[in-house]
């Protein structure tokens, strides 16, 4: 069964969606969208390292992403605003990565597959690495759910309940780096952030609790992956971008339906106009 490239592509994209969507909820709640995007951009430097050293892609990308996240976390608030640091770090690692890759001969074509993903070319080993990463992320987020959620709500409340918000933040950063490292071959560095954010944003109006939002987001992400894969087969379009397009169409559809039929929402108040 795994010999069929379409089966491998389906398993890979559904796996990434299942890990990325619940994590994307935290990215949205903590207003880290730009952080996620920057981490993904930095991954290009990891790709370059992996090609130069002939080292495993997963390890190199994970290392670079973690290094960038740590640097940003430790430098923020010390004379630089967070988004300034992210802008500097993300784009310079992207630029250094692109320059480094240009020195290597014969991989110019490969680069496109890292920027936009090349899901149909995944091998069995790739699939195994992706699912190992996916299970790690789902495990981390599930096991640390209460601590992550409470630190997101308020770091002091987390402290008072015996959690260390800094450790929870590190766990989130680690999970984010793992998702980037496994998603790079599926949707490519430029579209990873969309896998995180779009399903979570679509899930928000249907959700009364954080848990519900994470589960709905995962379901929406997986649905978009399946539909996107099918659509890209029919339309002969690039798979990663097609998946993200379907995901975005779901977002638009849901929000248009909400405007037309307000009762469509399960939640009393998807908008902020009732908050005080």
């Amino acid at each position: 069964m795994l010999d069929d490239f379409l089966v491998r592509a389906t398993l890979a994209s559904v796996g990434v969606a299942l890990a990325a969507a619940p994590l994307g909820c935290f990215v949205i709640w903590r207003r880290m969208a730009y952080f996620g995007d920057s981490t993904a951009h930095a991954a290009v430097l990891g790709v370059a390292l992996s090609l130069m050293l002939s080292a495993p892609l997963f390890v190199c990308v994970l290392g670079v992403c973690l290094l960038m996240a740590m640097t940003v976390s430790s430098l923020s608030g010390k004379g630089f605003a967070m988004d300034t640091l992210l802008g500097v770090m993300a784009h310079s690692s992207l630029a250094f990565g692109l320059v480094a890759v240009s020195f290597l001969s014969g991989i110019r074509i490969d680069l496109m597959s890292y920027l936009f993903g090349d899901i149909l070319a995944l091998g069995k080993t790739d699939l195994a690495v992706i699912w190992a990463g996916v299970l790690m992320v789902i495990g981390l987020v599930t096991l640390r759910w209460s601590g992550l959620l409470l630190s997101t709500l308020n770091p002091d409340l987390a402290h008072a309940s015996g959690f260390n918000p800094k450790r929870e933040r590190f766990i989130l950063t680690l999970a984010l780096a793992i998702v980037v490292a496994v998603a790079i071959k599926v949707v490519g560095v430029l579209l990873i952030a969309a896998m995180l954010i779009v399903p979570a944003a679509t899930a928000r109006p249907f959700s009364k609790t954080p848990e519900m939002m994470a589960i709905v987001a995962a379901a929406l992400g997986a649905t978009a992956s399946l539909l996107g894969l099918r659509a890209s087969y029919v339309l002969d379009s690039p798979t990663g971008p097609t998946i993200v397009s379907i995901s975005a169409l779901l977002f638009i559809l849901v929000n248009v339906l909400l405007k037309v039929i307000p009762a469509f929402s399960l939640n009393a108040s998807p908008s902020s106009d009732q908050s005080t």
Binding site: P155, D156, T209, P210, S275
Partner: protein
């Protein structure tokens, strides 16, 4: 009743290179209501954070009674509108409380039957009380309340303080709260500690509000109504200019 729940001895705290607190020696007993008062940047919230272990001490010690169980109400908790959460789920995080315990805590805090409401739909006053209910869940013997009446009008604030006094009556817990409204809390508080990096003065509410240290700190005469008015003005204009080495 005469044993201390918590006692700080010569506490100092630095945030970065800035010394925020120094020479803080104080203690709180069960059944006692203590009000912390001081200008912005005087280290009130930092003192709370030191008590719950959220910031490290640069010197001094905090002796905690073996039975100490802190219920904490943080200042200005903002729940992002992107995060859907019911009151019930918010109270039961990290979890382990039964339905009855949760509904009793809401009753005790004066906001019964809010369980299924979305937190972001609550009014300011309701939300403050939900935070109080959250702090009461673990049956604490020391409540730390950081500006619990922020955003409430005077009547709402007075009601809130009566509720706090009622909780002290029924549970016998010690309560430390940060407040700007000395004249409102006066009737409900046993002791006032005036903070500005260090403890400027402390004692019974009336003696503190009459003391020259208190009046110098807030730059006002002894009339309490004028005190409140001037203090609120002081808030708007002075944000970062407070010298901590007073």
């Amino acid at each position: 009743m005469d044993t201390n729940l918590v006692a700080c001895d010569s506490l100092a705290v630095h945030l970065g290179k800035r010394q925020v607190l120094h020479d803080i020696t104080l203690s709180v007993k069960a059944g006692e209501i203590v009000t912390l008062i001081g200008p912005n940047g005087s280290g009130k919230t930092t003192l709370f954070k030191a008590l719950i272990g959220a910031v490290p001490l640069s010197s001094g010690v905090i002796n905690k009674s073996s039975e100490l169980n802190i219920g904490y109400v943080p200042q200005k908790l903002h729940i992002d509108e992107t995060l859907p959460i019911t009151v019930k789920r918010f109270l039961n995080l990290p979890g382990g409380h039964s339905k009855t315990v949760i509904s009793n805590a809401l009753i005790q805090a004066g906001v019964p039957n809010l369980e299924n409401r979305q937190v972001m739909d609550l009014s300011g006053g309701q939300f403050q009380r939900v935070l109080l209910a959250r702090a009461l869940l673990g049956a604490p013997n020391l409540l730390l309340l950081d500006e619990p009446t922020q955003g409430l009008d005077h009547r709402g604030a007075a009601e809130f303080y009566r509720q706090i006094a009622g909780i002290r009556e029924s549970t016998g817990c010690g309560i430390v709260m940060i407040s700007h409204e000395l004249h409102v809390v006066m009737r409900q508080t046993d002791r006032v500690i005036c903070l500005n990096g260090h403890i400027c003065c402390q004692g019974e509410p009336q003696s503190v509000s009459d003391s020259p240290e208190y009046q110098t700190l807030f730059g006002l005469d002894s009339d309490n109504e004028a005190a409140l008015y001037l203090h609120q003005n002081h808030h708007q204009y002075v944000h970062t200019g407070n010298s901590l080495n007073a």
